[in-house]
Every structure is written in structure tokens, then in C-alpha cells.
Symmetry: C2
Subunit: 209 residues, 2 copies
Amino acid sequence: MSDEASPHHQLNELIRTRVSPRFFAPRPMDRETLALLFEAARWAPSSFNEQPWGFVFAMRDDRESFDRIFDCLVPGNQTWAHTAAVLMISVARLTFTNNARPNRHAIHDVGLASATMTLQATSLGLGVHMMSGFDMAKARTSLGIPDGFEPVAAMALGYPEAHANMPEKIRERALAPRKRKPLGDFIFRGRWGDPGNLAPVNPGPARGD
Amino acid sequence: MSDEASPHHQLNELIRTRVSPRFFAPRPMDRETLALLFEAARWAPSSFNEQPWGFVFAMRDDRESFDRIFDCLVPGNQTWAHTAAVLMISVARLTFTNNARPNRHAIHDVGLASATMTLQATSLGLGVHMMSGFDMAKARTSLGIPDGFEPVAAMALGYPEAHANMPEKIRERALAPRKRKPLGDFIFRGRWGDPGNLAPVNPGPARGD
């Protein structure tokens, strides 16, 4: 008996192989590739098609801008994010453009755009590592993010480094088994807490986050 | 000269063709397929791997549960969502499990999981239409969503109906050109408002949202 499910019931390859890289190879990203990642984000859906997302990016060779974002990261993230080809901060516009009312879905929709970008990156052999560990107030000030907008996540992008080339501590973590809750913990039928009774179909990748 | 970019610079097919269907074909979804969509969501990244997402679903043939979610939708969404094979509500856990501190990224990370699920659906010929138009308070009560958790979005899933089989008003909207802001409106280099100067690479799909 094979562990492989029928082709119809495969987890999509990009979703199955996406990881948040903990170290990047010293390979620059060209501007066309970066534009394509943003193009992917652009086509994400959003509440009332508001597209409440924004991204401030810095390429590695643009040292001043790169350091400005890098300096917002918490020290734990700085230990590896210095290898990224691009750093960015995602930003949410908190009100609707046409009536200035609060957009309750702004941050959710930034997530939709960011996940879309991440899977586009995966399809090009790149990786995106999102981070909550950064100084929001500092990002707001040093990147000039205006009132009514909120810095959401820091993101490191680049070509993932081979495990053999990683510093040992980072490699250990990258090689650790991936962990996720079972479906039964978060999928409910009809009412919160009622079992969904959906059998797991396919394992994800064995390693990385 | 061709409009096609080099294969390396293609927008991924799933991202390019994803739309939020406005009407679904009368084709049921099997439980294995549904499980696979949730499996895709399960492998999304999240802040501290908290996986703050939950989903309450109802399949069409489970009428009582289906109507319970359907009744939470605003009338405008009820006009078409009755054709969905599955309705669901996404839910965010607002605090971290291990220390009960607020998780500022909970709703963002529900967005990551939902976008991942949506692209998995696209890869199986299915569509997901997320809706902000539903009664949150009613969803909380009728689905029994506990304190500390928040209903985020309603979602309709199913096999998209052919344009020819849609009611005329819905078809008109489904056939309208897709609209998105240009990259220059939301991508900035180094500082908010500074032009990214990234040329658009590839058009998205011509129709749908």
C-alpha cells in the first residue's frame, strides 16, 4: 500500500513544499522577479476589492534602505535575516478609501496578499519568511508610514540556502520535523467544537516551517 | 513582439486564474476534497507557529448546518451563496495558547491560511469566495464561537458555474474586467511613498474578481 493519495487528492506542490527559510544563499534577486512577486500579491482578493495592502521593500545592494528595515527586526531575526536578498514590511490601510470607515478586514487581506506572494515565490525557487518580531513603532517612524496605515509583518525574501551551508544552530532548526495541529483541533462541522470527522489526506513536507 | 513574458517570469497559473466565483454549479464536493482544502490551510505559516485559525463548515446536504451559516450572510451574498457546495466561517484565536497574551497577527494569519486554502481549491478546479458581508454577532451566537475567538470571514466553496448558466445580472458582473491598482500605488522602495520603479510584468486574468 502506498502513502501517496490519488493525484486528484494531492496537496498542491507549492503548498506542500513551501517553507519559511531560515537562511538565504548569497544570490541576488533581479527586479523583474521582485516585480512578479508583487504582481502576485496584487491579484489577491480583498473585501470590496479595497486592496488594503502596501509593501515597503529594500534590496540587499541598496544598503541604506536595507539597513533601515533590518534595524527594525528583533535581534533573534537579525541573526539570519541579514542573508536575505530583499527585506520588506507589509502595511495595512485601516480604513476604506472611498468612505474612510474602518476596514475590519484590512489586516486579514494583507495576509491574503502575502500568502499569494509567498506561493509565487515558491514557484520561482525563492522563499519568503514572514516575521512578527520587529519594532512596529520604529518601522512606522523610519519608513514614514502615515497615520491610518499599520505596519503588519516584516518579510525576508531570497533563494533558500542549502542545509549544508547553514550555521549549525540554524541548520538544526531547519531540519527539525514540521509540526502542525491535527485537523480535528481546528475544523468543526456546523458548530464550534463539533467534530468535522475529516480524515487527514496527505502529509505535508517533513522539514522546515 | 509577444505579450508573454519568459517562462521564468510567469505569474503562477493558480494565482493568475483564481477568481472569487459568483455562482456555483450544482455539483457536490466530496469529504476527501474538503479535507484536502483544510490540509492546505493547515500548512500555512503563522507567527510562532500558533496556527490561530479555525473553520466551521457546513456541506450543502447537511441542511441544518448549511442554513445556520447561510442565515448569517447579508442578503446581497445570499442571492448567490445558496449555490455553494460548502459554506464556512473562518475564526481567529486572539491570544497565544501558551501564555494567553494577545496575538496581534491572529487575523493576518487566518488570511494566510485562507489564501493557501483558496489556491489549493483553484488547483482542484474549485473556487472559494470570501465574504466580509455577514453578521458577526449572529455567527458568534449561532455557531457557538467562544470568547477569545473572533469570526473573521464567511467563505463559499464549490465548483464554479459556467458563465452561460448564471443568472444575467450575476453573469454581467462575472464578465466585467478585473480591476487592480497599479504596482506604483502600493509598492515603495525604502520608504513609504518612494517609487518602487518596478515595471509590471504580466497581466492577470481578464475577468472575475
